[in-house]
């Protein structure tokens, strides 16, 4: 969540400062780390989005998660 927030804030800064290459390089580094973290999460807990992001090659993983009301906190 913190990684995603930092990416977003850099994204907003870059919208008005597209030629700030230091910010751009920080953004790219951050985005890469975020992608890595999401990949790691998904390998442990299943896909974060139903399509467009995570392949589901062998079995349909999207419905494997517990439903929200089945989660015991």
């Amino acid at each position: 969540m913190a990684l995603e927030f930092t990416c977003l804030d850099l994204n907003l800064y870059l919208d008005t400062h597209p030629e700030d290459y230091r910010a751009l390089s920080d953004f790219n580094q951050c985005a890469q780390q975020l992608a890595q973290a999401k990949k790691e999460y998904e390998s442990l807990y299943g896909p974060l989005l139903n399509y467009g992001q995570s392949p589901s090659p062998n079995a349909w993983r999207w419905v494997e998660d517990p439903w929200p009301w089945e989660t015991i906190f």
């Binding site: 913190a2 930092t6 804030d9 850099l10 800064y13 008005t16 400062h17 700030d20 920080d26």
Partner: protein, 60 residues
């Protein structure tokens, strides 16, 4: 009003009835957790509301 007159009034370069947004320069940013907690990663944009002492509220 001429620029000289504006200066004489102590308003510097700025003209009346215009809105100005100073240009932000990226110099430093906070770490991931601190940025999330404060709602911005840019220290120069951080401006929390002052705490209300009567309610004992604290701002992080």
């Amino acid at each position: 009003m001429s620029p000289e007159e504006i200066k004489a009034q102590g308003m510097g370069y700025y003209r009346l009835a215009r809105a100005y947004v100073p240009w932000q320069q990226y110099t430093q940013r906070w770490g991931l957790e601190e940025g999330l907690k404060k709602g911005t990663i840019f220290p120069e944009l951080y401006r929390p509301y002052p705490p209300k002492p009567d309610r004992g509220e604290e701002n992080v």
